[in-house]
Symmetry: C2
Subunit: 330 residues, 2 copies
């Protein structure tokens, strides 16, 4: 499969067919996080305003419908998945000391580091309370495993700041844990009632999709400016985060380019000039092309995984989600 | 019940009868947190060295034996409870920026704030993974609810820094959520196989015990020096934390004492002299006596709750644990 075989797809294309169910997911999410303690309630309002595009719940609903759904608790499980995502974002921002997310102040920035640690715990434990209430032991097993994997991914992320020590293999483990695990979990939970082969195919599909999602995200950091992404281009380099384009380019850097990279990594607050120089070197040595090719390869594998499912409109929407991921925000 | 009716009890007295089971709890705890990612494994070793006295697992095992145990998964559930406790300690230290716990550097101090946020998430999600693996839906329901309550307690703690706004009623809600909920959960999980009346009595017993435990802890901060507690006396005041002795004393403070309290609260780093003056005023106005009397009252209620259980050596050990809590570290 090449890029040209995937039509550009908007999120709206994927979400329209399940829009009424997504509206119920949003109501469920509100119910799950509701609390009468004033500070929690206030933070919840802020979180609901900054919430994302509900991509993971969309995957869960499509996987559900591609395997005989809608299931009775499909929307609630999709809301739990979004809630887990929300909890990890709150803690990720606390860990990274991020000030902005989706153009809005993060919880640590608007309230405090303390509030963000506690709120992440609040949200995650609410997800577990709901999984307990649903009594769906298979969904619990998948999502408990996935959440634990994400924490290991966050730990790997801490070590992803040494460009010479961080390999492509370690990058793959990082993005599997950090991003792909929950997307895989969303697809698997959506397909829990399906025969094992279909459920496993959905889990694999979600993992490849999630890895490609993160590679594209890391690519965007090299190619997009602040106006498009809502965050400054080169932010990863600014924070000394090593991602796939750089990993690929490093062995091919000349002495001068290597010196530029070293200076950026040695500078606690890299200048725009240092960032621009390293971005240019990475581009020159094919780091962006390589990352894009890898994302496309993962997409092709994910596409093949869908072959295990019976044909359905929902299956084709899952296929279309590959196009959305590859082309999003370009 | 008065203080004199409770014999001084050591933790060893409580733990000896279940020592072989507690040894298995420790092995289970090691199994639950084990991970091959080097940084996680290293932090785990540190956590195991700083681990506490296993009071909550002891309660769970005694409750188990007082209601017809030992149950097959009793040790594993007790280890999960200690694991949840460990996770909350790691995040509490991150939230409070504490440098020491039990005389050892905290995870945030020894590693980083980032590592402590991630490790707390790692430990808690491991607890959920194990509860999922055990398939014990009732234990999951209790511990999910309790963990969520603890996060609300942590949020209440953030607001416990305004001596004029923080009432005894709010203090009670705080200590119920922060401390009593997990002790109650430990007792309830230990008695899950018992008839409802006994299970509920154990939950109530654990809540009263836990509230008294926290009141005694807060008292110790006013009465003990660093050598005994392993942390500086007056630490709560130093951090502007308002606890029961102060709440009781405030309405009775004279103008000069009120001024002393205000200066302490206005000073980001209170001096030892400021702390000593407020401690003396609290003592003068009966704040310590009042807190001790409340702890004793809760103990009497907890003692009465045990009347719902059939007589057994384990029930008498639960009763003896009240004496341990009231007299510990004196």
């Amino acid at each position: 499969m090449t890029l040209s075989q995937l039509d550009a797809v908007t999120l709206l294309d994927l979400q329209s067919p399940v829009s009424s169910r997504l509206a119920r997911v949003e109501l469920e999410l509100r119910r799950l996080i509701e609390d009468d303690f004033p500070l929690i309630s206030e933070v919840n309002q802020h979180l609901l305003r900054m919430r994302g595009k509900m991509f993971r719940p969309t995957l869960a609903l499509l996987a559900d419908e591609a395997t005989g759904g809608p299931s009775p608790h499909g929307e609630t499980l999709a809301a739990v998945i979004e809630l887990i995502h929300l909890a990890t974002l709150v803690h990720d921002d606390a860990v990274d000391h991020s000030a902005l997310r989706r153009g809005m102040p993060t919880i640590n920035a608007k309230y405090s580091h303390q509030v963000s640690v506690i709120m992440g715990d609040f949200l995650y434990s609410r997800a577990v309370v709901e999984l307990s209430r649903l009594g769906d032991s298979r969904a619990l097993a998948v999502l408990a495993r996935v959440t634990n994997a994400m924490t290991v991914g966050e730990m790997r992320q801490l070590l992803a700041h040494d460009p010479l020590a961080f390999t492509e293999e370690q990058y793959d483990l990082l993005i599997k844990a950090k991003t792909a695990s929950l997307m895989s979990g969303a697809c698997e939970v959506g397909g829990l009632t399906a025969p094992t082969a279909e459920r496993e195919a959905l889990a694999r599909f979600g993992e490849k999709l999630g890895m490609a999602f993160q590679i594209v995200d890391d690519l965007l950091d090299y190619t997009e400016d602040a106006a498009t992404t809502g965050k400054p281009s080169g932010l990863d380099l600014r924070e000394h985060k090593v991602t796939l384009p750089l990993i690929h380019a490093i062995p091919q850097l000349g002495a001068e380019e290597r010196g530029q990279l070293q200076r950026l990594m040695d500078n606690p607050e890299p200048t725009q000039a240092e960032i621009t120089a390293v971005v240019a070197a990475v581009r020159r040595h094919g780091g962006l092309d390589y990352a894009r090719t890898r994302a496309q390869g993962l997409m092709a594998e994910a596409d093949a995984d869908l072959g295990s499912l019976r044909p359905s409109p929902a299956r084709e929407l899952l296929r279309a989600s590959l196009g959305f991921v590859l082309e999003r925000r370009h």
